[in-house]
Symmetry: C2
Subunit: 437 residues, 2 copies
Amino acid sequence: MTTYRIVQRKRDGQELAPDELAHFLHAYAEGRIGDDQMAAFLMAVFFRGLSPAELATMVDVMLHSGAVVDLTDVAGIKVDKHSTGGVGDKVSLVLAPLVASLGVPVPMMSGRALGHSGGTVDKLESIPGFRTDLSLDEYCRQMERIGCALIAQTDQIAPLDRRLYALRDATATVESVPLIASSIMSKKLAEGIDALVLDVKVGNGAFIPEPTRAEQLARTMIEIGERYGKTVVALLTAMDRPLGIAAGNALEVEEAILALRGGGPTDLRAITLALAAEMLVLGGAAPSLEAGRSAAAAALDDGRALEKMREIIEAQGGDARVLDDTTLLPRAPVRRPVSAKESGIIQAMDVRAIGAAAVELGAGRGALRAGIDSAVGFHIPAKPGHRVQAGDVIATVFARNDAGARRAGEAVCGAITIGETIESEPLPLVLRRITPA
Amino acid sequence: MTTYRIVQRKRDGQELAPDELAHFLHAYAEGRIGDDQMAAFLMAVFFRGLSPAELATMVDVMLHSGAVVDLTDVAGIKVDKHSTGGVGDKVSLVLAPLVASLGVPVPMMSGRALGHSGGTVDKLESIPGFRTDLSLDEYCRQMERIGCALIAQTDQIAPLDRRLYALRDATATVESVPLIASSIMSKKLAEGIDALVLDVKVGNGAFIPEPTRAEQLARTMIEIGERYGKTVVALLTAMDRPLGIAAGNALEVEEAILALRGGGPTDLRAITLALAAEMLVLGGAAPSLEAGRSAAAAALDDGRALEKMREIIEAQGGDARVLDDTTLLPRAPVRRPVSAKESGIIQAMDVRAIGAAAVELGAGRGALRAGIDSAVGFHIPAKPGHRVQAGDVIATVFARNDAGARRAGEAVCGAITIGETIESEPLPLVLRRITPA
């Protein structure tokens, strides 16, 4: 069958046989068809979806397009966490060392900032000297030695997914449940996990805002995991407001350090503990979620999680003194407070707009921006449901210059709706827990 | 607005403002965005359609991407005909000289073979010496001198449409009503017409097989014409069987010559007369369709149409002796009869399969085939409803070699379904006539 016919059949809602789809994906991987046919195919998938068998083929071809890491030499059940992304989501920076400090190995390959959302790798790189580009060999050795590594997806891991991801990012085909699920799972299956906890974001700052479709995404990933013998559990969590107070790379590292010291914003701590409890149970380190949560809270409060983070930073060439002195992190020269223009109750926050304003400041990636600025971002202590007076400071902008700070301040102000009454309740921090059937 | 957002909004079914869509199309024309974004956009249009305003912008940008011919120096109302394409459709070769012989100027730029369908330009080029690549200047002068020119779409006419067409042909986004309508009309508006008759094919050999959607296509083109002050009339005609008997370039020229001499297959003559009547009325050369039909029949029967074709062939450098001696046309060395395998009534013909078999023989273009073979093709006198005996010759293959002839014979045999009863009536030759509201 020609690749044209394959696009046409997907367009017309017909199911592709495994060898047809695999042929198409290999043809793209090997350069025998171009971005044009693949872009049309991806858009057809956006509208038509993928059958379970097509999804399985997609994951399999992407997974085996590169190396599949073998961590059997690392003792214990390896458990990772993946978040579908949002604004202010610095959970990985707290969670990975926390869970590893309790004896469960955490092999974590993360992504970079994408669209309006931040990326763990960019955040880590705001720690002076921190290397996220370990080789697969260094990654395996560090996992054996200290039970945790925080690295970027290497070129060897699911290279076909990397190419498809870049193409989707250019062609408005990101927000598709089967494409998101297959992309995430092909990477995670390649990194050597035994089990996975998913933090699936819901609300206006999430790539899939609707809880129903987010649940569908979670179930799709759980089913992919099952086919490979990996247990996957998902929490649906709130992204109708930024997580925590800080948004921006170094600002988020600072906030994560506060949490690793047993402090930090309550929502950040709560979500970290909920995810940690799942990972500890999956990793065989806690008999119940309740026990896992207590153990994790203790490890935050008595410094064990912080010490594990110190080991990780030192192992990856970073300056671990930032854990004791956060002024060693990059700082933006301009700080500008943002005041409420009226009195009332915060009704809603446009999280995508806040994320876009952070990108505009330099904290994320525009289509043509090569690098990012670690130092810039926001503190936004305001949350939906808070009562404010006109003139109250509802946010602080950290910027390179006054003009950027003013623009960003206005954007944040415009993204926060203040009214007389609460129109709709903010989402609960954890909406739902989804487990294999 | 970024080009990404434009794709995204079309994907999500939002209407694009004229300047947004124009910006996107210009960005593609100027190479600022690639085939990947445009392919994704075209697939989104396949699913979401275009609003009337979006369609108008699409036509306008494609039309003005190149030269718009001015034929005001040619006396009379210039009327062209366009067919949406099928197998055995050699009507233009008869119709253009016929209508021109009755004093209505016919400026005709045609396409080449595409997919399973043939192309007028390829057919004309099987006449030794015939040049279809006239410059726009030569085209205008010939129109002034003899009132008809049969040429290929030049690089100067709607070049953006040419690029988009090639991209659609690679990405399975051909079969979209607004994309077909805007592509045809941007080219036709550029060639200098005052009015246009559309032959919109219906049935399994048409690009849009369903009469309802074909009518929608016709109405869409009629509305585009109205916006530019051009009257457009459409006939929906049958393509549930090949038109006439011959399929293949030189074979079809031969059959067209028979029709120009007043003979040829009855269905070819009937459709030609129906379309000629429309063109003569639009061109002010006949007071009614009935009068137009009579005048056209007379011009076929008394040789005026044939003599106009002689003028055209001579003007374009071709060997006009083919009109008197069709053995001067290319002939394939191998002829192979195809016999019915069983007795019964012909229930259906898979026209696409017949067209694909002709492409396979070399009469059309596969994705990688550079040239075509003028000499090969079929004679298929069989039609749905005919009663045949096992062993009756139902077709003849004209091929380069025995192996090709055998394969093609089997393909044609497989494309003709013989059964005991008539399961469904063949389509009437002309299903419907559609005029401006």
